[in-house]
Amino acid sequence: MAPTACFNCKEARAVIIRPKNRNKLCRACFLEVFETEVHETIIGTNLFYPGERVAIGASGGKDSTVLAAVLKTLNERYGYGLDLCLLSIDEGIRGYRDDSLETVKRNAVQYDMPLEILGYGELYGWTMDQVVAQIGKKGNCTYCGVFRRQALDRGAAKLGIKHVVTGHNADDVAETVMMNLLRADLPRLSRGTSIVTESGASDIKRSKPLKYAYEKEIVLYAHHRQLDYFSTECIYSPEAFRGSARTLIKDLEKIRPSSILDIVKSGEDMAALVPREITHSGKKCGSTAAVEDDIGGCGSQNGRTSGGEMAAMEKELAENESAESRETEIRLPKGQPSSVSQQKIIKKQTLGHCERCGYLSSQRICKACSLLDGLNRNRPKTAIEVSVGMEDEEISSTLMRQMERTQLTNS
């Protein structure tokens, strides 16, 4: 077959079929089109201001590596005037992070950016491997996700930076839209798609400049720019709703490549249609509204699903339904036809600070601290008992946990 000319420049030989619209492009045009689209996203949403200090949440994976490379390129090309740095979190999963952190360290040199690495161990006193040893392989993504969200913010605060960008791509956002529909989570449906997640009370702004970029194009971009990234999958299990949504989206993409973007568009519109009184409430009262609702899950699991979360929700719904048949309808003496329009009053979240660690939380104790409570309660207390009494441990602060860990490792 004769080589096809590039759809864009009509000169060079096309070597790439764009996953987004199946246009055939040459290498140079593809890189340019990809960068221009990210630039348009940044300009269209006024994401940055000149002189802003921005931390790139870097995992060493393809998304964050491409994000760092593109931001560096665009910053120089269009003169954004950004002060960029890399921020990495070490979850403490052996074999998963060790190598990818090495990649981040190389990236820091390649892109000439300062790098900060924060470990779960030093932040929480628990590495993910220790968490999994304690609670098993099911449901540990909750811990990882909650810890990571706080870790990024804490890391940024430590660096005195108010804006963290993450490598979430269009596939991630589309997945979240579908997932929130499946689990009927309107508050998150109203927030999950916005490019910036920022709460009035939090001073750290989160954004995802790659939200319109396809995962496949990110891989192509990394490949054609020969970026140094680490390709691996999280070895622990993904969440069932996300797994189901992911499988569905992969099928949709086969039918109509634009559908990932179309879901993002639908998600953005639906977010604007979520009733106001729901928008600012959290369905699962847990941690900080805006901080917590960021896209969960890890970078690149496949659609493996354990089914646990979906089965649990199904069970709950079935129980609600069977309870419904036992209910007796009580009518008010004067039949008001407007009973349908009466809005249920939804309890709003008010943001405060966690009593333990001072992190933003809508509860008395933030999600991370309550998870840690559960973990610490079951931790063998051999060496600790000597120095930390039961009472002290009940109110253990981050510092206390850090000490705990030091003692554990020493003993």
């Binding site: 619209n21 199946r22 246009n23 689209e37 348009e40 996203t41 269209g44 949403t45 839209v177 579908m178 529909l181 499946l182 689990r183 009927a184 309107l186 449906l189 798609t193 916005s194 490019i195 319109y212 189901s244 569905l248 099928d251 949709l252 086969k254 039918i255 109509r256 490549p257 634009s258 559908s259 973007l261 179309d262 879901i263 993002v264 568009k265 639908s266 998600g267 953005e268 519109d269 639906m270 977010a271 604007a272 249609l273 979520v274 009733p275 729901i278 089914g307 979906m310 089965a311 929700m313 199904e314 709950e316 719904l317 079935a318 339904e321 069977s322 048949s325 036809p337 349908v340």
Partner: protein, 371 residues
């Protein structure tokens, strides 16, 4: 008299053998029908209220595909009307009209449809039925020809000397993918039904969509970039054309409606059964609507509640009907972003957005669209 000895009595009447299970209960045929009818009539009770308020029974239009779901809805409503007529003080909450869109003008001609249509009009002889071809959309939506011409783009040539039927067939033939075809067919069907409802002076169209189908329609709508239209395409609410849409079967799943048909002998000969789902189709050759229907049905076997929740969630979105936002002349959806959405998906697509008159979802299904 000794009590009847039942192996597994119906949980409601306890007087007959249970023959089917749903929602962790087992029923005899009659009690199951009563259970399902109750779910529907609860939803219909608002029309009695409306009748009190406006002084006359609201006119409703029921689009009938002659498939399982809409036939069950027709049967239940007809039963309600008959029951009322048998009473001394007749109080029917609504006036019911039926429309059947001739499937031979949408899919391949099917002789069975004619027979079934005959049988249905005979079985429900007290009700009014109208059968229309899809191309009568040009009659009930007067500017449809111009809209289609503009929508299809400069490369599409509309031969004005030909019949409506020919022109619509030519337009539909110009659409390349299964997804776009199914998408535009449903847009045209919706427009025809809404247009016909308006011409009859109907306040509301009651659709026979089961919760299974509504969940699939919700997910498909989202996947086709039509998220903003969910407030009337799968929710009970006002459409852009001044006719409300209502979904009285939203509390019943497709398998339950099939169970209903199974125990209802009156329906046995007057329902066109669904085409069996073929496993030998490549995913990429399915339309998005088909994919979602398959997804919801297979997932629904295990997670019935989760799937039912999807349409309930969509039903909670706030309608923007009545605001002065620009609407798509073809499907009635929002042009550009819904107010409050600052996303730049639309701007990103500027290259193929030659006419901003149509909505995002319709632009995706346009005949010349590359994807």
């Amino acid at each position: 008299m000794p009590a009847k000895e039942l192996v597994r009595p119906c949980m409601d009447c306890k007087d007959a053998e249970a023959i089917l299970d749903t929602r962790k209960r087992h029923y005899c045929g009659e009690c199951f029908k009563a259970f399902a009818s109750h779910k529907v009539l609860m939803r219909m009770s608002k029309y009695k209220q409306m009748k009190k308020t406006i002084g006359q029974a609201p006119k409703l239009l029921l689009p009938l595909s002659l498939g399982v779901s809409s036939s069950v809805l027709l049967h239940i409503l007809n039963g309600d009307i008959e029951r009322q007529l048998a009473k001394t003080f007749v109080n029917i909450g609504y006036e019911l009209n039926m429309i059947v869109v001739d499937p031979s003008t949408i899919l391949t001609p099917d002789t069975k449809h004619d027979q079934v249509y005959e049988a249905v009009t005979k079985a429900f002889s007290k009700l009014t039925f109208t059968r229309l071809p899809l191309h009568s959309v040009f009659e009930y939506v007067p500017d449809m020809k111009e809209i289609i011409q503009e929508y299809a783009g400069p490369r599409y040539i509309d031969d004005e000397s030909r019949s409506d039927e020919y022109r619509l067939t030519a337009f539909r033939a110009a659409i390349s993918t299964a997804t776009s075809k199914a998408d535009l067919d449903s847009v045209l069907l919706t427009r025809l039904v809404a247009g016909y409802a308006k011409s009859l002076g109907c306040e509301t169209v009651i659709w026979g969509d089961s919760d299974t189908r509504l969940a699939a329609k919700t997910l498909a709508g989202v996947a086709k970039g039509r998220g903003a239209s969910l407030t009337w395409s799968v929710s009970d609410g006002m459409t852009p054309w001044g006719v409300a849409f209502d979904f009285p079967l939203r509390d019943l799943s497709k398998p339950e409606l099939e169970q209903f048909k199974g125990v209802c002998k009156e329906l046995s000969d007057i329902v066109i059964p669904d085409e069996p789902v073929s496993d030998n189709v490549l995913t990429k050759n399915l339309s998005i609507d088909e994919l979602m229907m398959r997804y919801v049905r297979t997932q629904g076997e295990k997670y019935r509640g989760v799937m039912a929740n999807v349409s309930r969630t969509a039903n909670k979105l706030e309608s923007t009907t009545g605001s002065d936002d620009a609407l798509c002349p073809l499907c009635g959806g929002h042009v550009g972003n819904v107010k409050g959405n600052s996303g730049v998906t639309v701007a990103n697509q500027s290259s193929d957005n030659y006419s901003s008159k149509f909505c995002y979802g319709c632009m995706r299904s346009r005949p010349e669209a590359t994807c």
